[in-house]
Subunit: 237 residues, 6 copies
């Protein structure tokens, strides 16, 4: 049995609260159980210099964690000059995931900057961030559509993400921190609303895993992401 | 008349919500109108090296802002190597203000780290932070008292802070962003529950101010801080 | 009695020596007793990017300390990547103080950079720096006036600064290092030649201070600054 | 047809040259076609501080690229303060991959540092690096075994890595730079000599991929890695 | 007798291998005994900003060392933010030495960046680097000549470098690491093919040296450099 | 004729003023014409970690320049994270030069830190710094001798430095800025009171120089340094 007492294919309670920032063009406070991430989407004029003049836009993401989001206080990253390797890995993943469902040409020469800041962490912060960031991005694009800056076809699909792992030999969905620390294998999946895989990252923490185990994790993820996409749909009804 | 339509000596609506973090020993989400600051107090073993062996503890503070807490998105400080001058000034101010009401010898050789992260900014973030941080600190000390780590006399008094300014010739209390941008003079006051001044910082943004104006601002601040201290008291009833 | 044996309202011997740099457009070596600060004013073409095209100029300041200006050698700041919080606080204070008496529109789209480098420190370096920097700035503007770059009305007033503190219960003027270390309260005042307050910063080092004490310090400062402004006047006769 | 004219399941010519460094305890120059990586293994006394006293060793890896290893010259990373996000991602991957086949307790309280420096790049530098680094590590452990520092059972298995991708709709093995730039999907696999998966990273560069495509890539990778492991075996005969 | 058993005026075996990089316009792997340096010359459009619009080109150099090029592993410089003082000294020396034989006006507004990366170190890396870099630069200029970008007169002369030292009282040529560590005096000479001195750097490691000793070292260097220039000539036959 | 109208072998007016710092154990303000350098020697307990336990001391040096020491204002180095290459080269040179005349074993496990800060620059700052730093070091050692921390034999000899160059074909001594900018060859010499060479650095700025020219510069330097050593002797009479 899982420490969280959840069934192997059971998500934590998930909530998606939109409009949480007075200033941002789109925003969402996403909670996967005790993991809380504050996501904003900021429209910015112009694009990075390497993209200038190509009549295409860009979506980028940054990720941070409040120092006491974690069980023990973590040193504030500002003091170390650059985001850590882990932070950079996560923010690149969020950016790639969102760009997979955006028509960058339809966006025009503008950049949308996504900020995902973890207020409280209990495992799965990167998957919660991607799932919430999609809503912030969607609301930012809606804000632009209302102002006739873009038409309604910039956003091509939903995107959401979930972690899976092998815990004491059993494949389980949506690991919290206690489960993640003890899992033999840890994998993150990012998929679209129509079921395509955008990103898969699997790591054997202990012994290597088999192709069969990989497929069992993939099946769990497909089910979990379908439910997250449903929640995104309900949030924008 | 003030842009906010408030009376000259009227605070914005203030709320102080305790226990907002699952992990921190003490925490408080403080709101001064649209200014929202998430404050945590983290107990850490040991003290900074320059204090070691002196049988005294330490209270320090760090301050940050989510990138889209502001009207336009601000660059994430992590990328610039060190906190900005403004950030350092504020975190030093918060630390000094709290230490003024803590008996560091009674605390023992331990450090309490205060983190104040601005979720949304609309003027007065440093004064909101000090006012909320006092509650996070108080709950952390209470957490320690219950575990017999300290007795009940570490915290000597309340401390709270408020800004004042001269707006179109009139001294006013608790400036929001619109008022702050247009004020001729801007001053921050930090005072204790018993009315002592811990810190005063006044700056003429436009023309210099007179000693009489300074005293008018001081009077406003005394009234405002008395009300903030009342709110702190009610929050811990 | 004060360690320096001075009367409570007595300044240290102050000297202001102009023209100490072969290269700078204006310069001044200021001494407040054993505190010696080398101030230069450098005329630079163009203004910071955020001010461009606004037909206004800028005055900015930087502050440094030779490593052995202090009793024990201090680590050279170059090795730590950015000025310390204290250094940034001081250089922002110097810049704000000088800008308070400059007509930035009359200056035109040019920047004057003030450098204040402490050759020897014995308390009060920031107040000495402001007092000396005013002379360097004045000579730089005079250099420009002679070359018909500006007319004579750019500089609106004198500005000077002094520290006060409560030492063993008595308010005293112009603290040296020994007095500053032992003072219960420490306050810096920046005022114009016509007696307006530009900046006030007061901090309770030990127990909080009262509004009455604040006013006693303010009175001392007014007298001290009046004398410093007289010395500035004599230096440019 | 592939730009390289190779069959879909065909590796580039691979060479593994041991003993290329006069100083290192183990070393290997690995070539996957025009991708050349210089790998060294350095035995160091002591372990990182967070591992001290646990009677276990550590294997870590660093990755770099000569500035002109690439088609256009790349800026030397030393000037930017920290390894880029990409560099950190790769060196963490190499470290995790090697640790998956090392018995860290049998290693004792010592660290082996692997350095993988790309002399010339033409796609697949991280997979070449892992494959070559295994040989450098193996020779370092052999060097220690000869000196009775460890016995022969520290290294539990082979580990090697290969990239796969979907090029114009066809799954292909071991992408060179031209193929990688044009591939719709790009995946890296790290597997052991006995066929277990250590790490899988798949990214849709263009449109999302299907679970069936993921499995086709996995099959290609299993074949490629089996051949790389054979080449490692021949290199140490 | 020297540890290397060489005669006082005997060079180590020197090899110069051109065309070692698939991407670079010019390249050379130079070996002075066990010191191996990989040199590339990269043609870049445009010149540093301070040189723009002057119708002149620039040759610059960077120098690096693989972490295990040395007997004990050296920390990778990327982690310390900037090249060390030693690295900067060497790369400035290489750049100056090459520019001494290039007609920068004939080069046009282009920059050639030389990279010298030490694969294996055994003393004399900077002198080997200069000697090899000349060939990389020469091949880059030849590449440009063939494409009619420059004519044949950009390169005015050969340049090569060698170290000398006083080892147990005897002046000796081309010190390896063991000799260098024990030498009383260490000097590097950079000279042209026609015998002019471009750079001389002599340092007394132990006791000061005499003008006579300086001249003895200079004579040794002249002979050694003449032989290196011959080897450069043979390499381009 | 030289721009300075001096004879080829004529030094600028040189003054050496001791005891210019209230805090430092030794100090000297050295002037070579318009080049003014403020030198202090600071006694510090303990030695760098790599020297610990070897019963030897250390002398190290740091070098800086006030921003407006130069004709145009120079950016303050603190903002760039590390001393520039030029600064590091100079401070290493000063340190090596002084250590050449100190008996580090007789010094005991202590470090003397020399700070040379250029107040005003007009060419030859590094040679002025070495010449003045010797006096600061000497007074620091004398301060220690009086306190019985060392005996009188720590300092083995004088050391001083001078620049020479070839200006319009003529070898000249002690170049000021105008001469230095136009010189074809620039060389710095560091020599002891007894005439031994500690360091020589010669660079052809334009065309290479001959061995004969090198010897002419060396002769000039010997004369100049002899005079500087006389001035050091007079300063401590």
């Amino acid at each position: 049995m899982r420490p969280s007492k959840r069934a192997p294919d059971e998500l934590r309670p998930v909530t998606l609260e939109r409009g949480v920032s007075k200033h941002a063009e789109g925003s969402c406070l996403v909670k996967f159980g005790d993991t809380h991430v504050f996501c904003t989407a900021s429209l910015e004029d112009g694009v990075p210099s390497w993209l200038r003049g190509q009549r295409r836009g860009w979506v980028t993401a940054e990720y941070g964690m409040l120092p006491r989001a974690t069980h023990d206080r973590t040193r504030r990253e500002v003091n170390s000059g650059k985001p850590s390797g882990r932070t950079q890995e996560i923010q690149r993943l969020i950016g790639r995931s969102l760009r997979a469902v955006v028509d960058l040409e339809a966006l025009g020469e503008r950049q949308i900057s996504i900020d995902c800041d973890v207020i409280q962490a209990d495992g799965g912060t990167r998957t919660a961030a991607i799932t919430g960031a999609w809503l912030a991005l969607r609301d930012c694009l809606e804000w632009m559509r209302v102002r006739k800056m873009v038409d309604g076809k910039v956003l091509k699909d939903h995107v959401a993400a979930i972690s899976c792992g092998i815990y004491r030999g059993t494949p389980v969905l949506d690991l919290d921190y206690a489960e993640d620390s003890a899992a033999e294998t840890d994998a993150n999946f990012v998929m679209t609303g129509s079921g395509g895989i955008v990103e898969i990252q699997g790591t054997a923490e202990g012994k290597p895993f088999t192709p069969e185990e990989l497929n069992a994790l993939l099946d769990l993820a497909r089910g979990g992401i379908a439910r997250l996409v449903d929640l995104q749909r309900m949030a924008i009804l």
